[in-house]
Every structure is written in structure tokens, then in C-alpha cells.
């Protein structure tokens, strides 16, 4: 369980003159649950874009299970076992909840099998199971577009799980959720770790605390510090970044 799943080495991404990511290093072990926090503009989303192949870094390398995935296209990376949940829930609104999950669960993801075969029994069972975990079993035939915001978030998370990835990248899963839903989401993500590796990005501190996991703090495109909640909260650099530099020190 201690093998390295994901390794980012010296990633730099430039947009024009602006460095969105600056010499970023990060290591994830298999089975780990990791939270990434950081102020706005710290490069959190760009960092996910690099891992999932949406953005090519100007420098550095990304290793997944020991192999570089820099040259791969997005759908290849997804098939290798990296799943991503987007910041605002992105589900297929014109498809039913079941069809959404069936698309994520389908394997192989090639045109001919999709055309000739229907959803396999094992997949259907899995989908039903997932729907009951996230409390959507009564909505199986409802169009995803008519779900509430929280239900969409959960649908997207369960789609991610249905994809059976080794690494789950979860971008702000609790934005816009009620406290109760937030807690349930935290428990859900915690239960996923171990079997899967989960990386969560958020800035809801209560939620992060509830995850009870190692935290990496991102600032200006690189990792500022890593550690558990306590270490982070007492780290001076982190306090500076979040609260601004204490005035007496400038003087």
C-alpha cells in the first residue's frame, strides 16, 4: 500500500507572463486521502488540469504508477484510472441519473461495444448500489438536470466512483451544500480512501478538518507546506498567506 501512485516533479505552467504553477512538487501514495487547500489564485484548478491532461505544463513531469502521462490525451488519462470531479457540478443534464452513471461505468469505452451491447448486469448492480449510497435510488429515471445542487454534486461524485479510478480528484465537492450534506460528503470521501486514492481540493476548513487527512497548502503555484491540520494551523507562512503579513514585521 505504500507504493507511489502519483508524482508531480517541478511542474511549471505559464499563461502569458503569469506563472499559474511554479516548480510544484507533490507525491501521493496509493490509498491515501489528501486535502489540498490554498487561497484563490493559488493554482488549485490548474494543478488538476495538469494531472488530467487538460493543460500541458511548460516544465516538469507527471508520473502516474511510475509512468509519465504528460504526452497522453485526456480520455487516455481517464482510462488509465484518474477520475475528476469538476468545481461546479457537471453532469449530463439531459440524461437520466441512471444513464449518467451508466456512461461512467461502461467498459470498454469504445463505440462498437456501446452500440451493440447494453449495460451489463454487474454494472447495473453497481450503479444501483452507488445510487443507494448517495440516496438517489428513487431518482433513477429522473433527468439529471432536474436534481438539486447537492444531488448533482453527489451524482457527480458517484459517477466518479463508477468509473473505478485508482485516483479520484475532487474539486470543491461541498461548495453550495448544506452542513448536513457537507458532513455526509466528507464521510463518503473518507470511506472511499484506502481502496482508492483520493485528492480533495476545497477551502471549507470545517470540511477539511472532518476529512482528518494530511493537507498540502498551495500558494502562488507551489506547495507551501504539508502536514496535518495542527501543523498547518500553526505554520507561520500559512498564517501569513491567509491572514496577511502582521504589520509589525514589515516595520
Amino acid at each position: 500500500m505504500t507504493e507511489l501512485l502519483l508524482e508531480l516533479k517541478g511542474i511549471t505552467v505559464k499563461f502569458g507572463g503569469f506563472k499559474a504553477l511554479d516548480d510544484l512538487d507533490l507525491i501521493l501514495k496509493a490509498g491515501e486521502l489528501r486535502a489540498v487547500i490554498g487561497p484563490n489564485g493559488a493554482g488549485k484548478t490548474t494543478f488538476l488540469d495538469v494531472i488530467t491532461g487538460k493543460v500541458r505544463p511548460d516544465e516538469g513531469d507527471v508520473l502516474f504508477k511510475g509512468k509519465s502521462i504528460l504526452k497522453q490525451r485526456e480520455h487516455r488519462i481517464a482510462r488509465l484510472g484518474i477520475g475528476r470531479k469538476f468545481q461546479s457540478p457537471r453532469v449530463f443534464e439531459k440524461l437520466s441519473v441512471f444513464d449518467n452513471l451508466a456512461l461512467a461505468a461502461a467498459w470498454p469505452k469504445k463505440p462498437m461495444p456501446l452500440l451493440l451491447e447494453s449495460t451489463k448486469r454487474a454494472e447495473t448492480e453497481r450503479i444501483n448500489q452507488l445510487m443507494s449510497i448517495v440516496n438517489l435510488q428513487t431518482k433513477s429515471n429522473v433527468l439529471a438536470g432536474s436534481l438539486s445542487h447537492g444531488q448533482k454534486q453527489w451524482l457527480e461524485i458517484s459517477m466518479l466512483v463508477a468509473q473505478k479510478p485508482d485516483l479520484l480528484l475532487v474539486d470543491e465537492p461541498v461548495a453550495g451544500l448544506t452542513d448536513e450534506e457537507t458532513d455526509l460528503t466528507a464521510d463518503l470521501l473518507k470511506s472511499l480512501a484506502g481502496e482508492n486514492t483520493v485528492l480533495v481540493i476545497d477551502h471549507d476548513m470545517d470540511f477539511i478538518r472532518r476529512l482528518n487527512s494530511p493537507i498540502s497548502v498551495l500558494h502562488q503555484g507551489h506547495v507551501l507546506c504539508e502536514g496535518d491540520m495542527k501543523t498547518i494551523q500553526t505554520d507561520r507562512r500559512v498564517i501569513e498567506v491567509y491572514l496577511g503579513q502582521p504589520e509589525q514585521e514589515i516595520l
Partner: protein, 384 residues
């Protein structure tokens, strides 16, 4: 040497027609995200305005000024096409911001209507319509707001509308009685003849350059310079760019996005009118004249990259150059001893229509390397 000069001149001439035609399209597409398939028809409107201006200047009173009618036609065409464009923006396009495919279909409908309009409505009455719209648009900007708030509002509005309608009817009937050619509907092509001083050519280094072509090049240069000054230096230019980048934020900052939409689309359409003048000098003018240019214009925009004036300029001239090189079979003149299979291929493509085939293939090939054109926009927001 002569050969290169001639080829260069031809390329610039072809390129500048393309450029002046594509300029308005590039603005409307690049800044507003609107695919205006009626752009060609706005050019047609500009070309017909030139024709009407020419006929008016043949009237006895204006005869002494006949020589400068082309220059005045440029301004008139800008206003006329701009007016039609603003009407189009106010009625149809404003409902469709943010969905380019829908604008594409709707403006195609508009282009059909415009084509049939010039076929079935006598030009005198068409002129009357444009004048009515123009004056009522003018009223809506000129009348002070406080006059529009009291209980006289309805009266003033009706009065303004009535005045503009009366002006339109008067112009229409005056034109119809004075110029017989304008009083009948006709779907036949008409010809714009250049005033005497513009006929013939200018001799440089033993070569003759047609004056009309030179005039078009000058018109193009002036349009491009004016547009770039307007967009980069004027207050409205800043506002337009602001609205392009973030409509909601601009609104919060107190920019009237509606006026910006009207002005941007009006200028884009007006430039189509100017292009129409250029086109009317090159050949006969008919209801379908715009359709011949529209696809070429879009190729310029795609090749140049969206929202980039320099890209549009370079793309037009490179397409012009390619058209001349391939279409006129220049490669064979430059390299007469070309091996046989290659020579016959070059020969096969050396007509204007086959050159188009070749250029399209080259553009698609080019897009394999630079999918977003010569000058792509960069940044995080581009794809989403």
C-alpha cells in the same frame, strides 16, 4: 522584376478586397461572438447604395459634383448598411447573444429576406425605408431623456415616428419620380460606373495599375487604420473591449452594454457597406453579390484567429497571395522547367475556382498545426 511586381500588386488587390470585406465580420465575430451570415447581404446593401448615389448624382442639380460621388457613396454606404445592421441587432441578434450557432441560422434567414427585398422592392422605396429607420434611430438617441419621462412621452414618440415615416415617404416618392430606374423592382444586375478620373490606370515602372484597384487599396488601409484607432484609443473602444471580456462586470461598472452592442454591430455592418462600395467598383451588382464573398471572409477570420486585427490583415493578404500564385499559374512562369507531373498539377489548379479548392486544402492543413489560427487567444478561459 516586373513579374514579381505584378504578382505582388495582384495579391495586394485581392487581399485588400478580402480584408475590407472581412474586417466588419471579424469585429462582429471576434468582439460579439456573432456569426453574421447576412454580412454578405450588408455588403450588397452597400453596393446598391453606391448605385443609388451614382444615379442621384446624375441628376442635373448634382451633376457638377458627379466626379466625387464615389467618395460620398462610401459615407452613405457606411450609414445605410450600419442602419440596416442596427435594425437587425435590435430586432433579432440581441435575443441570441451567447449562442453563435443560433445567430448563424437567424442571420441566414435575414440574408434571404434582404436578397428577396432588393428583388421585389423598387430601390426608391427601399431608400425610403432606410431613411425612416435611420431617422427614427436618430430620434431615439437625440431626444433628451427627461422629455421621454412625462406624460407627453407617447406624443413625442408618435411624433418622432411620424416625422421619420414622412421623411421616408417623401424621399421615396421624390426618388421614384426623379429617377425612373429606381421606381421599378428588378432582379437584374446593375452596373456602377466609375467617374472619369477613376478610369484607366497609373503607370509605374512600365506597368499599369488600374485606378479602381488602387482606390480599393486606399479604402482598405483607411478602414483598417480607423478601426484600430477606434478600438485601441477611443473611449468606446475600451468599453467595447471591456464588454467583450466580461459583460456582467462591465454592466456593474456602469457601461451601457446595450449601446456597446449597437455601436459594435453598427460599425461592423457599416464596414460591410464600405466593402460593398469596393465590390461595386469591381463588377456588376446583384442580389447575390454578397454571397460570393462571405465564405472567403470567414476563411480569413478562421485563419487569422478570432478577435485579432493583425491576424485578419495577415490572413487576407496571404490568401490574396495564394490566390494569385495558384490561380494565375504563376509557379509555372517562375519555374518553367518544372517536372511534368508537377507541372500538370499546377496547371490543373490554375483557375480561380480551382485555386479556391487548393487554398481550402491548405487552410485545413494549416489548422492541423495551429487549430486556433495564426494568433490564438491564450489563457485559462479559452476552452471552456
Amino acid at each position: 522584376m516586373e513579374l514579381i511586381l505584378e504578382s505582388l500588386f495582384n495579391s495586394v488587390a485581392i487581399g485588400s478586397v478580402l480584408l475590407v470585406a472581412a474586417l466588419g465580420l471579424a469585429i462582429v465575430f471576434g468582439l460579439m461572438g456573432v456569426i453574421n451570415l447576412a454580412h454578405g447581404e450588408l455588403m450588397m446593401v452597400g453596393a446598391y447604395s453606391t448605385y443609388v448615389t451614382q444615379l442621384i448624382f446624375k441628376l442635373p442639380i448634382l451633376k457638377p459634383f458627379y466626379d466625387i460621388y464615389v467618395l460620398i457613396a462610401i459615407i452613405i454606404a457606411f450609414i445605410v448598411s450600419g442602419t440596416v445592421g442596427i435594425l437587425l441587432e435590435r430586432t433579432v441578434i440581441r435575443r441570441l447573444y451567447g449562442s453563435p450557432l443560433e445567430t448563424l441560422l437567424a442571420t441566414w434567414g435575414v440574408s434571404l429576406i434582404l436578397q428577396q427585398f432588393v428583388r421585389s422592392v423598387p430601390l426608391a422605396y427601399a431608400t425610403g425605408c432606410v431613411i425612416t429607420i435611420f431617422i427614427s434611430l436618430l430620434f431615439s438617441t437625440v431626444i433628451p431623456q427627461n422629455l421621454l419621462q412625462g406624460n407627453r412621452r407617447k406624443l413625442i414618440k408618435t411624433g418622432a415616428l411620424g416625422t421619420s415615416a414622412a421623411a421616408g415617404v417623401l424621399t421615396a416618392s421624390a426618388l421614384a419620380s426623379l429617377v425612373s430606374k429606381l421606381s421599378r423592382a428588378s432582379s437584374r444586375n446593375v452596373d456602377v460606373t466609375a467617374p472619369p478620373w477613376m478610369r484607366g490606370g497609373v503607370d509605374v515602372l512600365g506597368m499599369t495599375f488600374p485606378k479602381t484597384r488602387l482606390l480599393i487599396i486606399v479604402i482598405t488601409i483607411i478602414s483598417v487604420v480607423a478601426v484600430s484607432i477606434f478600438l485601441n484609443k477611443s473611449v468606446w473602444g475600451v468599453r467595447i473591449r471591456a464588454v467583450t471580456q466580461n459583460r456582467d462586470m462591465s454592466e456593474c461598472l456602469g457601461i451601457s452594454t446595450e449601446s456597446v452592442d449597437v455601436i459594435t454591430f453598427g460599425i461592423g455592418s457599416g464596414l460591410a457597406g464600405v466593402a460593398g462600395v469596393a465590390v461595386s467598383l469591381l463588377g456588376s451588382v446583384g442580389p447575390n453579390v454578397g454571397g460570393n464573398y462571405i465564405v472567403g471572409c470567414f476563411m480569413v477570420v478562421v485563419l487569422g484567429g478570432v478577435g485579432n486585427l493583425l491576424g485578419t490583415v495577415i490572413a487576407s493578404f496571404s490568401i490574396g497571395l495564394m490566390t494569385d500564385l495558384i490561380g494565375a499559374g504563376r509557379l509555372l512562369t517562375i519555374w518553367p522547367n518544372m517536372p511534368q507531373p508537377l507541372a500538370s498539377t499546377v496547371d490543373f489548379f490554375s483557375t480561380t475556382s480551382m485555386a479556391r479548392v487548393m487554398i481550402f486544402a491548405l487552410i485545413v492543413g494549416f489548422l492541423q498545426y495551429r487549430p486556433a489560427g495564426l494568433f490564438p487567444q491564450k489563457g485559462r478561459m479559452v476552452e471552456s
